[in-house]
Structures are given as structure tokens and as C-alpha cells.
Symmetry: C2
Subunit: 415 residues, 2 copies
């Protein structure tokens, strides 16, 4: 299919393109990382307890370990007396047995001495030289953490695919694990294209603009857990571009923004087709129509629009879910959703998915949403003026004023 | 106030402790970072546009630059003819002027030649040697991005305090900024205490358990944007602990978990009082009652409970908001909230705030929530069995079965 200079023959619906993309993807590998580096990673195997936790019955309070039934009937008026036969501190163990009406001084976390089955709190004890008065009864088991009460040997504590948040890190530490096997992060190479594109920090000549896409895409990739390298700005020229793409094939994923549409200088799709396979090129969405993807060897190559806003929308729609699946995550948008009433009609076209940047304001009845008027997807400032976005689905010609829509929020409305 | 071994004289309400804490905090400093490292950071100054964007009128489509009014009346049946006087490619500029019925071939992003005010798309043009037939009229301004249409020189694009998400990174890049000034991340040192606590990976003797707190706290700090160092496990012993605390005073924040309550071996509050000031010790919350904080010199010292669950709850309640304020963020929990119906009564005490771990299940009417039965805050597994938590506020003795509560979710319910 030769489309350069002639417009797209046909556009693939977003869902069809996405299913096509994700059905070809799986986790890309495993690696072992230190527990300190495991935050946010995805577990590559089930974690089974190798021992009970706690590994022994232990005191849950500072106090005295006793036989609980010996305290029955104890009160302020009728204290019961116990002989102190020793002490066990946290981290130690007691070499003896607690018999009837004997007590061992114990600190929180210390192993319960043999024979004892409860701990009387310090507050309910008066110490009198070698013995104590207990002024409150404690049933057996009171103020004691039983061995295995947290988890038992052999128990599956975390399943493969679990995201390692701080809670999961805590349980892995409690198991004594120093390292953990997780899915590998996708390595992403990012190429910006365009003869007019310069690196931030350089001087601009007339007709030139700064590279924004590779920075925005790198940030989006990092926020999705990928390892990212900016591979620089490449000219819209066949040889230079082919060389850059070939040099990027050691990455799991290659993002190329610009030179991906159907103009004369849009050399990328042709090169991808030559070196590998273009699976989808041209998607029924706005912005982002020139989006496509394919494979060169094992490298998944995304062709993203050159306009910054379109490029970000294409990332959100296709690249993010792909990166998530490749590291064992469920595809999901990171933007919290709220409901809001539309202040102005959003026109759209049947068969096309539109991503509309919006401002959100609080009103007396809840939230109201105002589409941002812009003349195109080159308007970077619309992204930071917007509080979020509304998706107009394919099966409608737009959304009427007054309707309630779902808004994905770029940031907290309190900021 | 000497409380060791005697229980807390009084407990400070959570809100009072938190206001006390936050009112003493401000951003801790600024630093300049590379744009690639700015994701998630907080802007320390207003960002003002130093030039217009786009910096010149430019083509928004591939086509021919013309005077729009010359195309009026053009149609398939009545094409209008234009003489091609040259070409301007993206990144270049055109050294001449477009006069009546003249056209310059132009690519998307290239500067509009002087004299032209519109671009006819390739699709609406037939090329005939040195001239073109235009078959559709374009009004002036059509397919053109005007200079300054994105933003104008002098415009405040991002305000101090703005969180730098990918969209903000994009606009900073478009401004040509290579570095950006952001608030410094708090540096946090983390000490675990306990004679029974061993590093994961070591062998356990009887009576010993693995350090979970410092790993969980380090993960929580990282997820909050702090720079974190685990300073190891310290014995519950006055001299060792004092030495460890003194060695940790080069951090902005010191987290000490364990040895912070009122037992005989709870040496931390006394040492903090000796070296500096204890502001709050003992908070009316469960779990987490032994929580406290104070200052030694400029270092904010948190005394956190030794039990893992209590330590995490104390982090969420006090440490997270403090770390957020110190780097210029609004205090906020990272857990999305849902409403759910309570399946079982949650008892509580008037005047105390309870954090109750819960499981969430979908029912026909929405979500239902089941408190997890545990015997205490040493039960690490309860954190990974829980889907989230319910807060029982101070002004109630509990929440009745059937009531609708707000649940903070630890993770997506789809996982």
C-alpha cells in the first residue's frame, strides 16, 4: 500500500487496531531485582511462605507471661499473686517453663516461654519484689500473637502478576526475601523526526522549533514503568531515517514521532514496511489519525504523529496499553474519572473517536466541563490549560450541550 | 514527660497532631534538574514564554501556500490556476513573496512565505507542470498555524507549585528549556529498631524476625517522591540508638520505627527529647497509638510504631503529608476512593480514629465491604489480603452494618 502524498485509503477503528496490537503482545521476560528496587514492579512467580509468621508464639504487649487460667477471678479487690521466675527480652528466648502461678517478665515481640499462654499487661500488675499482684484476669491467648497467625508455611501469599506496592514489599521483607523475580521493564527507544526540529537549549533559526515529543513521550514511558532512551532528532530523509531505525532495533519498542503520515516527506511507514511489517497505519481518531504500528524483527515499532498533542493521544491510546501488557500489567489509564455536565456541544464524526481537551469547573450541582477551543493538535499549551479530556466515541456525531460526560483528569482539581 | 513503662498520659487527636505538624513545615529548598529528570517534580518558579509559539506563521498541512482570496469561487467545475514560484520545506524559509495567483509548494510545519495567508491541501490541487489547478476555495488563515497561536511571549504558562506531568514536560521542551528549577525532594533516613529484628537474607535464630518496616517505609517514601536511605537495624538500647539518631541528623527527615512506645525498652522518645524536642507523642488512633514526632535541629524526626501495619498507618497519616508539603505538593492520599456498603459492624471508640483494613466485593447494587478480622497490627498479611481501608472518625463509636462508607483502595479491583 503506497499512500505517501495521497491520503489514507482507509482508517482502522481504534478498538480494532488496539485488539490487533494487544493480541500480539505478551510479557517480555523476567529478571531478579533487590527488594529496594521492586516498588511498582510486577511479580513473575507466586510467592509461597517458607515458614510460619510469626515464627513462634510471642508477646503482643510488655508485661508478664503466665498461664491465663491462673488469673481467673483476679481484680483490684482480689489480686492474685504470681512468683517471678525470670525475664525474656525481645530477640531472646527463655530456657525454662512457666508453671502454676509463675510469671516471666516479657517484652513485646519476645517468644512466649513454654507453659505460658497469656500476657498480663504492665498496667494490670503491681510489682512487689520477687512477685506480682495481677489485678485483671487474662484468658489464655490474651496479648499473644500465635505462631502462624499472620501466615502459615506453604501458604500462597502473592500471586504471579501482583503489582508490588509498599504493602507487598512489606510481606516480602517479612519472608526474609532479599531479591524478587519480576517481569522485565520494556526498553523503549524514542526518535523525533523533522528537519525543523532542534534540541531544547540550542539556538533556533527561522523556520525551526524545539523537539517536544521525545521529552513528552519519554516522560509518559517512564510514568508507565518503561526504561526510556531518547535517540535524538532525525531528518525526514530516507537514508538518515532508515539508519536511525536500524540502530534502534535493539530496543523492545521504538517510538517514532513525525514523518509517519502520508505526505511526501513521511518516509517512516515505507521504511518500516521495507525492514519488517506495518500492521496498522491510519486510525479513525482525532487527533492522531496518522498513528500506526508494526514489527521489525522482535521490535514493536510505533509510528506516532508529529504534532505534540496528537502524539500524546496516540501514546495514551496504543503505546501505554502495550507497555503495560509487556510488563504484566492490566491495560489501564492512570487518570481518575469524574462525571461532569457539558457546557457546549462537542461536534464529531460518525465512525471516528475524538479526544477533546477540556477545562473542568465546579458548579453548584457538581462539575461542569468546557471544551477547549483550539485550532489543532500542534497547540501544546492546550495540554496544560486543560484539566482533562473527554472521549467522544465512534457511534455518535457528537455530544450535546447539557449532557453528562466522563472526564479523565490530568491532575488533581485542587492544584 | 516521662512515660516509659507507664502508658500514655494523654493522646493527641489526629487532626490536632497533623495541624501542629504541617503548620511547622515549608518547602525545603530548590534545585535545578534536567528536563529528562523533571517528571513528577514540583515547579519552583513561574514559567513565562520567552517567545511566541509557533515562532512564525506555518503550514498546518502539506500543500501550496497562496493568497486565500485568490481561491474564492474555485471548484471542480471551475478550477482557478496558480503559477508555482518555488518550494519551502519544513525547517527552511522562503526568500521571496507570493503575489496574486502565485503558489509556493509547502510542507507541514514550514514557515508560510511572505504574501501568502492560506494553504491549499494537496487533495484539492491538480499539478500541471509549472502551475496548479485549485479546485476548492480556502479562506485566508486556512491550514495555517498563526505565530503565537499556541502561546505568546510574556504569557505565564505554568505557575510555581505546578506538578510536572508529561504535558508540562512537553511545554517546557517547546520553550527550549534544557533545565528547570524544582523544589528539592526531602532526604529521608530510615531506622528500624529491635533486638529481635534481622535483615532479610540473614538466618533467623529463635525469637528473631525479619525487618519489614524499613523496606515498607522506604517504598512508601519513594512513592511519595522522597530520596530514601535505609540506615539499618539498631538495638533497643540507649547508647546504640542515640548514636544512630545522631548519625541520621544529616537527613531532612528521620523515620524511626519501634522503641517508640512507653515500654521499658522504648528508648527513642527520651533520646529525641534529650537531643531536641518532642512535639507530639501518643496519638488517638488505632493502629498507631505510639506515633510521635519532634525536631532535632532542622531534622524532623518521626517516631513510628514497631508493628508493620501500625507503622504504615502512621506513615499515611503523618509522614506522607509532611513529605508532600516539604516538596511543594498538596497533602493528599494516593488511594482512589469508592463508596461501598458495610457487611458487618465496625466497632470503635469515641475520640479515636480507626483505620480498618477491608476487603471489597462487587455486589448487584455496587460494592460491599468486609472488615478483615485480625488480632493486631503485627499481621502483615492483612495488608495484602485487604483491598483497601475504611477510616472510622473520632466522633462515633463505630459504623453500623449496612451503612455506606468510603473505601480507600490500595490497588485496582481488577488485579
Amino acid at each position: 500500500m503506497q499512500v505517501r502524498g495521497k491520503g489514507f485509503y482507509s482508517l482502522t477503528p481504534v478498538n480494532e487496531a488496539l485488539e490487533n496490537l494487544l493480541s500480539g503482545l505478551r510479557v517480555i521476560g523476567e529478571e531478579e531485582v533487590l527488594l529496594e528496587e521492586a516498588l511498582g514492579r510486577v511479580l513473575a512467580h507466586d510467592v509461597v511462605a517458607e515458614r510460619d509468621n510469626p515464627p513462634f508464639d510471642r508477646a503482643a504487649m510488655d508485661g508478664f507471661a503466665v498461664r491465663g487460667e491462673n488469673t481467673f477471678g483476679a481484680s483490684q479487690a482480689n489480686p492474685i499473686y504470681f512468683r517471678i521466675i525470670g525475664e525474656v527480652l525481645t530477640g531472646q528466648s527463655f530456657n525454662g517453663e512457666v508453671r502454676e502461678f509463675e510469671a516471666v517478665r516479657i517484652t513485646t515481640g519476645a517468644p512466649l516461654p513454654r507453659g505460658a499462654d497469656a500476657v498480663v499487661m504492665l498496667e494490670h500488675v503491681n510489682e512487689l519484689g520477687g512477685e506480682i499482684e495481677v489485678i485483671k484476669a487474662v484468658p489464655p491467648g490474651k496479648n499473644v500473637s500465635l505462631r502462624g497467625e499472620d501466615y502459615k508455611k506453604g501458604e500462597v501469599l502473592l500471586k504471579r502478576g501482583r503489582v508490588l506496592n509498599p504493602q507487598e514489599i512489606a510481606i516480602l521483607a517479612s519472608l526474609g526475601l532479599r531479591r524478587v523475580k519480576v517481569f522485565r521493564r520494556p526498553r523503549v527507544g524514542i526518535i523525533s523526526t523533522g528537519d525543523e526540529i532542534k534540541e531544547p537549549g540550542e539556538d533556533l533559526k527561522e523556520g525551526q522549533v524545539y523537539d517536544t515529543n521525545s521529552f513528552a513521550l519519554a516522560a509518559l514511558c517512564s510514568a508507565t514503568g518503561a526504561e526510556t532512551s531518547r535517540l535524538g532528532v532525525v531528518r525526514d530523509e530516507y537514508k538518515a531515517m532508515k539508519h536511525a531505525i536500524e540502530a534502534g532495533l535493539n530496543y523492545d519498542v521504538l517510538l517514532i514521532s513525525g514523518a509517519t503520515s502520508v505526505g511526501k516527506r513521511d518516509v517512516v511507514p515505507e521504511i518500516v514496511r521495507e525492514l519488517g511489517e506495518v500492521v496498522v497505519h491510519g486510525v479513525a481518531m482525532r487527533p492522531g489519525e496518522p498513528t500506526g504500528f508494526g514489527y521489525i524483527g522482535d521490535t514493536l515499532v510505533f509510528m506516532l504523529p508529529g504534532y505534540p498533542v496528537a502524539s500524546i493521544v496516540a501514546f495514551e491510546t496504543f503505546v501505554r496499553p502495550a507497555l503495560q501488557v509487556m510488563q504484566g500489567l492490566k491495560p489501564a489509564m492512570p487518570y481518575p474519572a469524574i462525571k461532569a455536565r457539558l457546557r457546549r456541544k462537542i461536534p464529531s464524526e460518525l465512525g471516528r473517536r475524538d479526544f477533546v481537551r477540556v477545562r473542568v469547573e465546579r458548579s453548584e450541582e457538581g462539575f461542569e466541563v468546557e471544551p477547549i477551543r483550539t485550532s489543532g493538535s500542534g497547540i501544546v499549551s492546550s495540554l496544560v490549560r486543560a484539566d482533562g479530556f473527554v472521549i467522544v466515541p465512534e457511534n455518535t456525531e457528537g455530544i450535546e450541550k447539557g449532557e453528562v460526560v466522563e472526564v479523565g483528569l490530568f491532575r488533581s482539581l485542587d492544584e
